[in-house]
């Protein structure tokens, strides 16, 4: 939009989620990439942000299939009997 002027770190970081979700226009994306090409700190921020999302998912997703399998029998029975009472 403004030639030779870069968007700021604040602008870039403020729209990071939109950037990753592909919600920016081509022009906005171009400005993001231009800023990233000259700002190692924002490149690191973007990388850390991406890894944070991945880590959150990894940490809270059960590593075995137990969550998709059986729940504790005691809980199942407690729910069933609570309904009947």
């Amino acid at each position: 939009m403004i030639q030779n002027d870069y968007i700021t770190c604040r602008e870039l970081i403020g729209f990071l989620a939109d950037y990753l979700e592909g919600r920016l226009t081509e022009e906005q994306r171009h400005e993001f990439d231009r800023h990233l090409s000259v700002c190692p700190s924002c490149v690191n921020y973007l990388d850390a942000y991406r890894k944070t999302v991945a880590l959150g998912r990894l940490a809270l997703t059960p590593s075995d299939s137990s969550a998709q399998g059986r729940a504790p029998e005691g809980l199942l029975q407690a729910i069933k009997s609570a309904r009947r009472n």
């Binding site: 770190c9 989620a17 690191n44 942000y49 998709q68």
Partner: protein
């Protein structure tokens, strides 16, 4: 009336009809079918296993009570998912064991010209597998638990449960913009909490 989808891996409409006619076996089937998934959800939102199980039990009792009013436009499991989120939120709100910390101190600070006050250090590559992974996951879980509830819940629903912005907004009864803002702030805050462990030369 009948909103069961072709993608259902069980007979949603059939089960609903049996529930409506007070078929005892149908209630047991629903509990067996839905509990593992709902418990997995509640474990992500609640601080302990006992709290998670309590929330799931509350959710089912609410669901059974409100079954006559269920319009059947969504799948039973989707409806139960929403009720479980609400049961978790109710439980969390009723406690408030510790005051919620402001998230602002975990967000990046900027200079007047809009650039970052403190340059972001590069993160290590994330280790895969082994004991390290288990420890890392425990660390991340404990940091997620430090996030204020309204941010943690959005992070769980969007980034872990895989709900989209619209679905999350509907469950939490907030606007799409609120979901997007909270998600972005939650991720930024979690990143800041994890920075000491993953950024730069600190182990």
């Amino acid at each position: 009336m009948n909103g069961a989808t072709a993608t259902a891996d069980y007979d949603d409409a059939g089960l609903l009809a049996r529930l409506r006619s007070n078929d005892e076996a149908a209630f047991d089937e629903l509990v067996d079918l839905a509990t593992p998934r709902l418990l997995s959800l509640a474990r992500k939102m609640m601080p302990s296993e006992a709290d998670a199980e309590d929330a799931v039990q509350d959710a089912f009792l609410n669901a059974f009570k409100n079954l006559p009013g269920f319009d059947g436009r969504s799948k039973l499991t989707t409806w139960l998912h929403q009720i479980t989120v609400n049961a978790c939120l109710m439980k969390l709100r009723s406690r408030r064991r510790r005051p919620e910390t402001s998230i602002d101190s975990l967000l990046p600070e900027y200079l007047p010209d809009g650039h970052q006050k403190k340059p972001q250090k590069r993160w290590h590559e994330i280790a895969e597998g082994g004991i390290e992974k288990a420890e890392m996951c425990e660390l991340v879980r404990s940091r997620i638990s430090e996030l204020p509830e309204q941010y943690r819940v959005v992070l769980v629903l969007r980034d872990v449960e895989g709900l989209d912005t619209e679905e999350t907004a509907a469950v939490l009864e907030v606007t799409l913009d609120t979901v997007r803002t909270r998600l972005h702030r939650a991720r930024q805050a979690l990143k800041a909490l994890l920075d000491p462990y993953f950024a730069g030369d600190t182990p």
